[in-house]
Amino acid sequence: MSKEAVKPTSNSFIMLRAMVGIGILCGFLIVVAYEGTLPRVQRLKAEALEAAIFKVIPGITQTKTFMWDGESFVPAKEGDDPRVYAGFDDSGELIGVAIEASGQGYADIIRILYGYDPQKQQIIGFYVLESKETPGLGDKIEKDESFLDNFIAMDVSLTDAGAIANPIVPVKSGAKQNDWEVDGITGATISSRAIGNILAESTALWMPRIFNHTSAFNVEM
């Protein structure tokens, strides 16, 4: 049993002082923590992204970020949008471009990164950045080998008019016949379809841009 007596109504000033004091103290603590961890957090994030880019464009050794300024690609600064990541080999040769895309999956938004080879006009790699799909079902889009095989050489060639010749289409598991089809996963049809649709939408936007401005990526490293 606490024997403490009830305090009478406190002086307003004491209340103000206490709250503002704590507020300032808290602000201070947060800033210290933020500033203290920022470099490492940024480094980790960059590393994670870099690792993903390396995965979707096999065979590169360095990357560089570009921004679409409406007409062409220019090297991107911190925070610029929308952006793509160009990957180069040792010799500084452009191997491919990694593009981020997202769309509604079974459970929530799925964010993916895919690599595009402008030379072959193919998608050459695919990686799921973020998904909340059902483990064991929907998350097969991250792990299922045969599903990932879809994206080793997927045709996204352009017509002369500059549009995708064969838009990407999801098909039922085992029904894939053409390079531009995404073979679905049994039991995760919705998630695999979502990937197909995200790709179809994103490629329609980005392929013409990148294909027609490949030269813009050839800048001094």
Binding site: S10, A18, I22, C26, I30, A33, T37, V41, P135, G136
Partner: protein
């Protein structure tokens, strides 16, 4: 039972034990349910979340206990929330600095520790009235109790739902996962199961007592 009664001065260790068992925040008080259900789909997540919560609880109980004589009654809740939010933010950054993957899987729930009813209720019910030492013991006990409960859930859900424990496969390849355990519904069911076990133990104890 060890909850200090009568004339014996309560010992700090009692505060510690009670949080772990007799007044376990999850199984007995049913507090802070959101993270318990949401982030217990694997043992690893559960452990990380439990540690994060315990850390915030410890730090905020400490600070609240230290400042208890400076905070007028009228603004105490607001002040506590401020203090808690600060430590949550700090924890959030700390986890990001440790591993991006971990941060991704704990998701928004790190931020939501702010509103974990458990932390505010300990600040309000205990730390604001007790000395530093006791408050820290209380926080440790409650925090570990919370962690323990989270871990119980996480273990069951991961083992049945994924066939693994801390990511290590426990069964041969042919094991059929019970996916429901990883889904939200599985969280509800597993918590219900643990509560049932606790109630049954309690009932048996009462019957024999």
């Amino acid at each position: 039972m060890s909850t200090g009664t009568n004339h014996t001065e309560t010992k700090s260790t009692d505060e510690f034990i009670k949080g772990l068992w007799n007044e376990n925040p999850v199984f007995v008080q049913v507090l802070g349910m959101c993270p318990v259900l949401a982030v217990s789909n694997t043992a690893e997540n559960a452990l990380a979340m439990g540690l994060a919560t315990a850390f915030v609880l410890l730090m905020s109980n400490t600070l609240v206990s230290l400042l208890r004589n400076f905070i007028p009654k009228e603004v105490r809740i607001a002040s506590f929330i401020l203090i808690i939010a600060t430590f949550v933010t700090i924890t959030d950054y700390a986890i990001q600095a440790i591993s991006v993957d971990l941060h991704k899987s704990l998701g928004a729930f790190i931020s939501l520790i702010v509103v974990n009813c458990l932390i505010l209720s300990r600040a309000e019910a205990f730390a604001s009235k007790n000395t530093l030492g006791k408050s820290m013991m209380d926080a440790l006990g409650m925090g570990l109790g919370f962690l323990f409960a989270l871990f119980c859930l996480g273990a069951v859900r991961e083992i049945l739902g994924n066939g693994t424990f801390f990511g290590l496969a426990l069964f041969p390849d042919t094991f059929q996962e019970w996916i429901v355990m990883i889904l939200p519904a599985g969280g509800f069911f597993t918590l219900a199961l643990w509560l049932l076990i606790f109630n049954l133990i309690k009932q048996r104890k009462e019957a024999t007592a």
